[in-house]
Amino acid sequence: VDFLFEPGFFSSSPVHVALVIGAVSAVVSAVVGVFTVVRGQSFAGHALTDVATTGGSASFFYGISPLLGFLGAGVLGAGAMELVGVQRLRGRDVATGIVLGVATGLAALYLYLDATRSATTGAAQQILFGSIFTIASSTIPFVAAMSVVTLAVIAFIYRPLLLSSLSSELAAARGIASRYVGLLFILALAISVGLSSIAIGSILSTALLIGPAATSLRLTKTLRSAFVFACVLGVVCTWLGVLFAYDSYYWFPSSQGLPVSFFIVLLIFLAYLASGLRPIRRLAQRRRDPRDGVAHVLVTSGNAAVH
């Protein structure tokens, strides 16, 4: 056992916090992520992490709670994307890009002002890369509570969201206001992404949002199993990544370990690549549809949702 788990793994309290926060973030990200991937909003999902980190650097500057900065900026950014974006897919792409550009520009400004005013080094790196090992255990209750809120919002709009993601015509025919459902979803996305980027860093936030969801949508036949598989995959990758990162402190003579985000992302990336090795199902193969691979899943689970 010592070969696999280096001494102190189970008694270290940063490890406990990392395992708990990592699992919570992985589950919420996986659930929100399945919808994000199905709706083709991966870019927005990633951009919102950068918007949230801008809020983080602004909160350093104004001296307010980083948590407030992360969540507030994320929600503002999501609102701006909805406001700027037109309904067409290509317009949404540009709107996301514009909001992302402004947010990154503001981040540059705040990081510059932070550096000139207080000479705190490490702020940029902390904000950009974060670390699951450095979060305080006192943030767990808040992160858990907000996660429950996010999941509740998703559960509340589950059916209309599913329908308007599958087919906007069908949703319109059933009297669903897709615009408001989409707005609620992107707000839930912003909160989930803001939480995970403060808890586990912005790289991991995007990886846990898109990776497990995209992988499981390729492998599962129904949407329900896609949710379950994505959650399991996210949690397994996170826990293994934490374990490897902990062990890696003993791998090099310099005692300089590799970051936990590296391991988690690597595992998620390998899982995604492996899922692509499966032969494409005939249904998805008929043409080069941007929604390929998902089409099948949607048809089956969509029927289940309608009936």
Binding site: G101, T104, L128, R218, R288, G293
Partner: protein
Amino acid sequence: MFSGFMVNAWLIGTIVAFVGGVVGFFVVLRGAAFPAHAIPNGAFAGAAGANLIGVNPLIGLGVFSLGAALGIGRLARRGRADAVTAMALVMMLALGAAFLSQSTEYEPEIFSLLFGEILGVSRGQLLPVALLGLVCVVAVGVLYRRLLLTSIAPEIAAAQGLRPELVDTAFLVVIACATTMTVPVVGALLIFTLMIGPPAAARCFTDRAEMALAGSVVLALLTVWASLACSYTTNWPVGFFVSVFSAGWFGLGRGYAHWRSHASFEGVTDHTLVNVA
């Protein structure tokens, strides 16, 4: 403002704006904003890796951005393009984090790769940037018709035997080329915002492809020049001004398109561009 180190900044800013305006026109037309963000941002990992093993950072940047372009192009044939792009981006960033953890890199260097250091450009950096910029513009010139056709009239492109996935990959390589040249000089942020705001604004002002392309270049040049002037006066980062001005053009463009569509019931459409193609 026009002497000493600022001369290099004006020159390099002009080159970068020109290339950004040209390449950005197709980034917006093809809905490729995510790869245009992912490739420059992820490529910084290459620079960090090159620093670690003692190679010229430009080589690391080139290898990573080219690898990202080809990888996204290849994987996107089997999966959803945006999910593939996200996966490629996080993998590169995670590698970057791993490289940084093993090196004694100073934080200011990371900062400059992301946000740029255009005011610290040396004369020696001018030539490689100008050459790579020329390669990008020539490549767009050669691909021009194919890029336009596959973006706005896929049916016609298919009828002419064009393979959209090849054109996609070729365009991603152009973005990678533009990235390698610009990231060490102006940072990942600046080149990304230049490739989105000005071209998207230009498309609101005209329906003709050539006019939109020219407008995109003009707006990009104005953005960079104004930003350099503002940055020189205030000492704030150039990237901040570039992003704000780019978004400002876009806001103006959308406002104009809105006003015009209400005045004549005619919006900006892809169909008018088809006639030109």
